[in-house]
């Protein structure tokens, strides 16, 4: 099948993820949107690996997954800490450094 289809699907998912990051205020939803963007990039990597007949793309996608897992762990811990002190997960709330 035409690899362009996969890449277009990957671009659509990436755009939706970016839209989620820009539109939503809930930190957890923003975080999930970032995950969606990483996954879309993974789909592109896997498709390119198959397109070029080379396993390197899959290796990179695997590394992306590992780094994403580490990022999720730390990010969620940060969200928890902010929620504990500020009682909110809205990304508009932490503006203590303003002015």
């Amino acid at each position: 099948m035409d690899p362009g289809n996969y890449i277009i699907l990957s671009s659509i998912l990436f755009c939706i993820g970016a839209l989620g990051v820009l539109l939503r205020r809930n930190a957890i939803v923003v975080f999930m949107s970032v995950e969606l963007m990483l996954n879309a990039a993974n789909l592109a990597f896997v498709t390119f690996a198959r397109m070029h007949g080379n396993l390197e793309g899959q290796a990179i996608a695997f590394f992306v997954m590992i780094v994403a897992a580490a990022e999720v762990v730390v990010g969620l811990a940060i969200i928890m800490t902010i929620f504990r002190t500020r009682r909110s997960v809205s990304i508009d709330e932490p503006h203590l450094l303003r002015n």
Binding site: M1, D2, P3, G4, N5, Y6, I7, I8, L9, S11, I12, L13, C15, I16, G17, L19, G20, L22, L23, R24, R25, N26, I28, V29, M32, S33, L36, N39, N42, L43, V46, T47, A49, R50, M51, H52, G53, N54, L55, E56, Q58, A59, F62, F63, M65, I66, A70, V72, V74, L76, A77, I79, M80, T81, F83, R84, S88, V89, S90, D92
Partner: protein, 304 residues
């Protein structure tokens, strides 16, 4: 589904109808899940939509000749990451709704326009660049070391060995960092049973507060509710027997008592206040005769 996947796997690099059908079904579902992420009001629904997207992406990985990555996607993303998200969601509180107030004026429209433009650009560029491209397929690359997993392992442990080690260090650091961030320091020593009993007795010494357990609510006395106060021997309701938030106007909380209980309460009250009333003969429930002990006890109390 299985036969579809098999068909897709067999047709391999040229791409058969099986792969095409799977792509259109799973691709549509993935996009729908992604849209659900953005447009759900409730965060839990967003999380479940993302889980749907992740599973469909795993199927897309599988038909893209990446069986290892497809399974890792299911295990790591839908299994671990999304459940972690749900855990944090439950800790933070599911009701934390999004504020839909625009803090920056026109930010929403600008964001939509930006993403639309970006998407059109990328899709147009990619579409023209990849038009008519044919996948080489991974049959040859996989056969070099005997399979997809073996080929990936060879990549991991030769070409990308340094990256693998660095990533291992990163993931250990991330785990430690999460532990440190989520840890809450205890500033006061934890109160055990002995300490609590000492505190209770000291409070008793100072204020005369009852050190023992509070009376249980009168759940079985008249009604089934925990807000029903227990009745003291003289028939008055006990304020201490109901949970703190329910305390207050306890008399209004006593449900309509059945007539017999009301009569009993009146009788007990009159006895307690010293008025003699006619009492029915108290019979021993076992023998059916008058119980001498009860008689004596009553006499004694009457004398007092």
């Amino acid at each position: 589904m299985r036969s579809l996947l098999l068909l897709a796997a067999e047709t391999g690099e040229t791409g058969g109808t099986g792969e095409e059908i799977t792509f259109w079904i799973c691709g549509t579902l993935a996009v729908l899940g992604a849209l659900g992420l953005i447009f759900s009001r409730k965060t839990v629904h967003s999380a479940l939509s993302v889980a749907v997207t992740m599973i469909n992406l795993a199927v897309l990985f599988l038909i893209n000749e990446a069986p290892f990555l497809g399974l890792v996607q299911v295990i790591v993303y839908t299994g671990a990451v999304m459940m972690l998200f749900l855990f944090v969601l439950m800790l933070v509180g599911v009701d934390t709704s999004d504020s839909f107030i625009e803090t920056l004026k026109g930010q929403r429209i600008a964001a939509v326009l930006l993403i639309l433009g970006f998407g059109i650009l990328v899709i147009a560029a990619v579409g023209t660049a990849l038009d008519g491209m044919v996948s080489v397929g991974l049959v040859e690359a996989n056969s070099l070391y005997g399979g997809n997993v073996e080929g990936l392992a060879q990549q991991m442990f030769t070409t990308y060995l340094l990256a693998l080690e660095v990533v291992a260090a990163l993931i250990i650091t991330a785990g430690l960092g999460a532990v440190v961030l989520a840890h809450r320091e205890r500033w006061e020593p934890k109160l055990g049973q002995p300490e609590q009993s000492v505190i209770r007795m000291e409070r008793y010494k100072e204020t005369g507060e009852h050190p023992g357990p509070l009376p249980t609510p009168g759940v079985l006395a008249t009604s089934n509710a925990v807000g029903t106060p227990a009745l003291l021997p003289d028939g008055s309701p006990s304020d201490l027997s109901i949970p703190g938030p329910l305390r207050g106007e306890i008399h209004s909380r006593i449900p309509d008592q059945p007539q017999e209980i009301a009569a009993d309460v009146d009788e007990v009250r009159s006895i307690a206040s010293g008025e003699e009333t006619e009492r029915p003969e108290i019979l021993n429930p076992i023998s059916g005769h008058e119980d001498p002990e009860i008689e004596e006890a009553d006499d004694e109390r009457g004398e007092q």
